[in-house]
Amino acid sequence: MHVLVKLFAQYREGRFKVEQKEYQEGTTAQMIIDTLELERVSPLGVLMVNGRHVAPSYRLQEGDEIALFPKVGGG
């Protein structure tokens, strides 16, 4: 299935901003996080799919857009 993966802040370093990826059915958000070794950089802060916060156990669907942010903040 096709999933649009978007990375932000420190997660972009040495990786990418946005890429269309191909994953097998049943792939979870956590599996994507692990494959990209994101948490070696910084703990996961915000995980959204199609603009909604979801748990890392979320199973991706065809056409989903997943956005991954390390722990960041402001105000």
């Binding site: 932000f8 802040a9 901003k17 802060g45 603009g51 916060h53 960041v72 903040g73």
Partner: protein, 578 residues
């Protein structure tokens, strides 16, 4: 020697020094300014008349070696909201006031002579009133240069520009930071109050100061170490904020569908990436600015930055998400360098960069400029507002009055103050804070974005109503308390997620003053502050109907999540049940 109250009367250019009344002893920062304003200012007074007062007060820990304790509060009745206002700032004033033993500087009255502007020069046990005709008509950097030429470089400087002299609602009070740039008591038009009192600038001399006394230095040192470690180890205050500044929020709010776009018509902006924190950090790296910069001595977070243009020439510092959002997604400027140029200009002019920029976005609906026309925006801000042309006066009166002048319905304000950067319909906890805070729409009053969007202090679904009132209440109580300590509000990220942080902060207060406050005491202080402010507002004529968001948010759905503002009045009013 105990700290003292310095009281200045502009009506007869006199001052006196008073002992601190017992019931003000345990207060600092916002707790003290709001208590004094509530006790001494008639809530029905005209904010620019003789009966309003300006109260400056450093936080309880300001002037100590505690990390991030350099915030100074300024309180008064606000000409923008008609209610009580506290606005706090970094810079050097909090530390210098504390070291001089000034618990609060209260400025009352209006001069008889309507022509002369004054500099107030505060030294140990003395306040001088110096007429400054040569500074009239100058903006902040020119005033700062004049004061730097006159005094030791360490002198604290608080000033207004031309727009403050003209008493416009968007005028702020600007404060020198340790690097010689400017920080602002930004919101609520407090620069207009300073202009009404004919004060061009206030200088606080650092020559006579001494280190603040700490009752139990050992205990203080120990608690301070734990506190600093908590800030440094927290991924947000230790890594995220220093690397990307607050502007990292552009992409997060955009993803969440909570980035107000084109005057709150949509929750996403197709050009968000161009103005994002990631783009800003890349530019800084390529052009030789600084991604880290502290607004006050002792800051270990360093969320500020120095942002240069393509030639490496300084454009601005303290380049914040809310300003970038307002000039970007809200007004439509896609060029981050032009946004930076306008931000630097607003520092020099001494205007609230949020109120001014929210008004500029609304000016698109008024037909004054086109969406995305940064050149026109620059011209209006650099020429029309500071020279006081009729259109400049209307814009300078702020978002709410601009809306009234042009017969607009979609006016993003609460209590007359422009709503910043977080769409209330899509970040509902923040919407509750905007509706209820006594300050008017103010994101720092109770930053529910932390828990709605950033997963700090847990997670509460931003699109649902459940839990939002309680969240906003708890955060507003905690923020009122933190605003009294002199701490930067960003210590809250560590406080929300690290159990060691808050006890260490309270231990520092206890060690400083030799008291035995508990977490409950500090939370009770926050509650008392909020209730004091709320009561002032009610007496000033701000009722339940003012604790509401703009009506259009109740009937216009916001894409992409197609949400409306669906809280009833009763549900919002339950905020005050504590």
């Amino acid at each position: 020697m105990a700290d003292l109250i310095y009281r200045v009367n502009m009506s007869n250019l006199s001052f006196k020094i008073e002992e601190v009344p017992a019931h003000w002893m345990g207060l600092g920062g916002r707790g003290l300014t709001s208590t004094i304003v509530a006790e001494e200012v008639d809530p029905e007074c005209h904010p620019l008349g003789p009966n309003n007062k300006m109260v400056f007060a450093p936080g309880l820990l300001s002037g100590t070696s505690a990390s991030n304790s350099g915030r100074n509060s300024l309180g008064a009745k606000s000409p923008l909201t008609g209610g009580i206002k506290e606005s706090n700032v970094g810079g050097t004033s909090a530390g210098i006031f504390s070291k001089l033993g000034v618990k609060a500087l209260i400025i009352e009255g209006l001069p008889q002579d309507k022509e002369t502007f004054y500099q107030l020069h505060v030294t140990k046990n003395r306040v001088e009133f110096i007429p400054v005709p040569e500074l009239v008509g100058l903006d902040n950097y020119a005033v700062l240069d004049a004061m730097m030429a006159k005094y030791d470089k360490k002198v604290a400087v608080m000033s207004i520009g031309r727009i403050g002299e003209m008493r416009m609602n968007i005028a702020n009070v600007s404060v020198k930071d340790p690097g010689g740039k400017l920080r602002s008591h930004g919101r609520g038009g407090l620069g207009a109050v300073m202009g009404s009192k004919k004060i061009k600038c206030i200088t606080v001399d650092a020559a006579d100061y001494k280190e603040v006394t700490i009752v139990d230095p050992e205990k203080f040192k120990e608690a301070s170490k734990i506190f600093t470690k908590a800030l440094q180890e927290n991924p947000i205050s230790g890594q995220g904020l220093p690397a990307f500044g607050t502007n990292v929020l552009v992409n997060i709010l955009n993803e969440a569908g909570g980035l107000p776009t084109h005057n709150f018509r949509e929750g996403r902006w197709e050009h968000a990436e161009k103005i994002s924190g990631e783009t800003m950090a890349e530019n800084i790296k390529a052009r030789g600015g600084k991604t880290t910069h502290g607004c006050h001595a002792g800051c270990v977070i360093q969320c500020s930055q120095v942002y240069n243009d393509k030639e490496g020439k300084f454009l601005t510092s303290g380049f914040e998400y809310e300003t970038i959002w307002a000039l970007g997604a809200h007004l439509g400027i896609q060029d981050l360098d032009l946004i930076a140029k306008i931000d630097g200009l607003m520092d020099d002019l001494g205007v609230d960069s949020i109120e001014t920029s929210v008004a500029m976005g609304l000016a698109v609906d008024a037909g004054i400029l086109a969406y995305g026309d940064g050149q026109k925006a620059y011209e209006l801000i650099s020429h029309d507002i500071p020279t006081g042309t009729p259109i400049g006066r209307i814009l300078g009166a702020g978002t709410h009055i601009l809306g009234k002048m042009y017969g607009l319905v979609r006016v993003p304000t609460v209590k007359g103050q422009g709503i910043p950067a977080y769409e209330p319909r899509a970040v509902k906890g923040q919407g509750i804070t905007y509706a209820t805070t006594p300050m008017g729409a103010d994101h720092t009053a109770g930053y529910a974005v932390a828990t709605n969007i950033l997963n700090s202090g847990g997670h509460i679904d931003p699109l649902k109503k459940e839990g939002q009132v309680e969240l906003a209440r708890n955060l507003q109580i905690a923020s009122a308390a933190v605003d009294s300590t002199g701490m930067c509000i960003f210590v809250a990220f560590a406080a929300l997620d690290d159990a060691k942080c808050l006890p260490a902060l309270i231990d520092m207060i206890n060690a400083r003053f030799g008291c035995a406050l508990t977490i409950d005491d500090v939370m009770n202080l926050g509650k008392t502050i909020l209730k004091t402010e709320h009561e002032f507002n009610i007496k000033a004529g701000l009722g339940k109907a003012d604790d509401r968001l703009p009506e259009f948010m109740k009937y216009e759905t916001l894409p992409p999540h197609n949400v409306i503002w669906d809280f009833t009045g009763e549900e919002i009013d339950a905020f005050w049940n504590f």
